[in-house]
Symmetry: D2
Subunit: 306 residues, 4 copies
């Protein structure tokens, strides 16, 4: 099956590579044309300038945001034949996705939103988690292709649902991390050991992904190297809050948490790792959270952090 | 070993029962004297009016709050001989506990705070989770007694640390439940299925105890029967926020969440189950979260909810 | 001077009427063509369908929002001759205004944003307050025209500044009203009289426009008839929060307050008067704020409420 | 009339001085005994150690907080004869005041809470603003004495109402200052001049005491010298939030604002002037608010700042 793959960034390049290696005929496309040409050469694929990208059976997009997706599809949709399949794997805004899917439907195209989580490492190994929004037949049609890229493929609802679900997961993750940092900061200022608190929380009702994984691995270790930046988290939170606003859903806690991340981005730089939010909460509280000096458990945790 | 047990409420009565059944010599005490007399008769124990409660080797308190604990100890501490052990298993305020422990130390008494979680069911089976604050030798001394009541006994720090830890766990749990409700409300208003969202969140970074247990069992089921009331949660949150204020720790998200619970208590009544907070968030968002009509997984979850 | 006036709604119609009555040659335009025709007949003006609206020396826009403004200008800008003046008096989004002003500059047009406050009553009497953004010469050029519509014309900065300033004023007004309602609710639950509290606040540092005007006139009176709806306030707050997000300005209190208004809109209907937000805060607090039964001062306040 | 005056701090000393100079027979009392003796000598008054302070017709307390007031009255109340008048002019907690007033009533004493605002300068000139809580006859009895100390004496309700009112005024003032700082920060980051914004806000619905007085005089001037500290504001906010919690009044915005002040206290030191909160909001937003370079209006504002 021939696939036009648009967007060869940190995630797009390894994803395209896996598709080429699994025998798909690829046409690569990126704003950086010489880079697309070089990658095509390495993968035994072809490349095409964006302006000339034309008919294709399947199109995969892996772009920075919704405006970029809309710009590419403004040129591309009119060139696609009825029956073609478009898969937007970017982290786009659900409202924009709904509009683009409607335009695609008018042209009798299949349209899916299929954002991913797992980071570059899992893009390389084809173990991404993929949340898919769109009609059931289109999802089944795309499944073999998606199976090359990810190990967990969940059909979460109609068009836009994939993009919404990704933003909502990151929102709940973001609240959990900020709240865990607040709770550990209170406890540490009272005299409790961070590691002891994490053990108790994880054995009780306070546990969340941050207390189970991120706090120990990225914060207490002072490594702050999850590979997911503050900037990207802020973008996902704005997306989630826009869905809330567009649906008239009041979410005071979520709205406040976005402001916390905005402040942390100002204070620490938007390229900082997103787990630095804990350092922001700590700094405001006048403490720093560390692993206990001689804690033999320091490296014991091995669950995945994304 | 003879034990004076003060406070025979919903939790205290089964705890005293276990101690009696495991061979401890008990003296029971409660403001409701006739109830204490009757329970003593059933357990083959003795009872004593509060005003006459006197010297004892060990005293266990299971009372509503810190003022009640302080009132009992005002009368009792002077009557205890040096070397006696006092264990406050109530959910008291850490600052008050620190003061009482200091007064106990002046009289050469051992003093522990040892609040529990797990609810009445686990009090009956002796499987409570117990967070202990105090000096190491006192903890070791109390361990055989505590082992009759709980299966998970964690020494979390000096005096007050147990009470602080319990409040902090419930704070993080409370934030997690409110935030999960907000996220599900946004998603539901956008068109996503609650159960699908929970599955994705639990497989990703958004998961917390609410998404894993409470949301499905108590909220989507519309059962709201966790057995832990809004009133008690508000009390624990106030305790946690007082520790934050006393230690000068800024915690905007936690402070906001306490207000959410306060509002829910006003709207739904303070005796409502604490999981009704989700109904409060739903109502504000104009939706109601349900299990999917024919969901075969509806009863699959069996993790503990407390 | 001939003026093309686009948008003849509740505000636009009286504004156009004043311009016609002051001797300006008007061309009226509205999506409701027959209404535009009828109003033109009454005012001795002409009318034109939107699609045919063509060259004009001056264009005034009074439309619902930025997308409406952009849609009209997409068709209109190419038809205007260099040197024409465009004045957007709608409550648009500042970022969109900056983009439209740049496009206008490319075509050598003067472009101003000039949102108004004061409501329909002051539109009729020509006493609107007008906040103008744009270049100084364009402001001077527009001043005679604006002077027919408003009595207070303030040049607040470059393009977009007018729209930003209006949103920011309403944001601070919205926070002040919610906060005043919270404070009165605490006091009333403690046993203080609302009117007494207002008197003390207004004589001290707690005073704001809500305590001075809105609380007594629209809330304690239970009239809720300021004439400015919840829906419009939510729109302005979203605009202000977008400016905050676009400029990376963390504003936790403002973000939370927008959620309060969103919740009030859900609960009370978006067509409710914006002062109903106080009823929302009251309801949550379990009280209702009233003037004292026999308060002779009940009608004494005469300051303007907008 | 003989008056026992307890508490000779920054406020108490000038207040006692005014009473002495207006012909009242004073007995002075302070924990710093030698200071009390010296001041008594200067004023031609007498002094007494706290432990020996005995019967008096009238007692005035000007102490740091409720626990200090309770400690003094524990010793003093039993020594007072029926019919004596106790006036607590400290900024105490309303709930504690209600309890103390009840104890005083049991002993047939008159009890008033009469906190002040206006700062040291107005204590010296006898122009304090005084909010009085208690029974009407007691208020009338105290009025001649209070008239020596303040020019605005308002009877706001029963016992505790004075203390509540003062905390509530400062709460609304605190929200207004934080919100004004947020709004100016957004506008400044967008490119608006602070002084222009203040002028527009004050002419419209956004105005509050901060935009009218504090922002220009203490913040844009970079003087930060209002004379009222962050620490005192945090104390008043905690008092107001306790009244909210005790009365079950949900106040999300107020609760969040207290956290902002707590964070500012951590960052800037609790002895910093309370107007430094604006510098905290600015710093988080990456800007600094200044008067326009050559603004001739810089010193025009002369309203009082407290």
């Amino acid at each position: 099956m021939s696939v036009l793959f648009v967007g060869l960034g940190a995630m797009g390049a390894p994803m395209a590579t896996r598709l080429a290696q699994s025998g798909h005929q690829l046409v690569l496309c990126d704003v950086r044309e010489s880079y697309a040409r070089e990658l095509a050469r390495l993968l035994g694929a072809t490349h095409v300038p964006l302006a000339e990208a034309g008919p294709a059976e399947t199109v995969i997009l892996m772009l920075p945001d919704s405006p970029a997706v809309a710009a590419v599809l403004d040129g591309l949709l009119p060139k696609l034949a009825a029956g073609a399949l478009v898969i937007d794997m970017s982290s786009s805004a659900p409202a924009a996705t709904v509009r683009l899917a409607a335009r695609a439907a008018e042209r009798h195209l299949d349209y899916l939103d299929a954002p991913v989580s797992g980071g570059v490492a899992r893009a390389v190994t084809g173990e991404l988690s993929i949340m898919v929004g769109g009609a059931e037949p289109a999802v089944e049609r795309a499944r073999p292709l998606l199976a090359v890229l990810g190990s967990g493929i969940t059909h979460v609802g109609p068009s836009g649902a994939g993009h919404a679900m990704k933003a909502l997961n990151n929102l709940l993750s973001a609240v959990g991390l900020v709240a865990a940092a607040e709770v550990l900061a209170i406890g540490a200022n009272f005299g409790l050991e961070p590691q002891t608190m994490l053990d108790v929380l994880n054995a009780s009702t306070g546990g969340n992904h941050a207390t189970r994984v991120k706090m120990d691995r990225f914060v207490l270790s002072r490594a702050f190297d999850s590979g997911f930046s503050l900037r990207l988290m802020v973008k996902d939170l704005r997306t989630a809050l826009e869905v809330a606003a567009d649906t008239g859903t009041p979410v005071p806690v979520s709205a406040l948490v976005l402001q916390e991340w905005t402040a942390a981005g100002r204070a620490l730089g938007h390229t900082a790792d997103h787990t630095h939010i804990a350092a922001y909460v700590e700094g405001r509280a006048g403490i720093e959270l560390h692993r206990t000096a001689a804690d033999p458990s320091a490296d014991r945790r091995t669950e995945d952090a994304r």
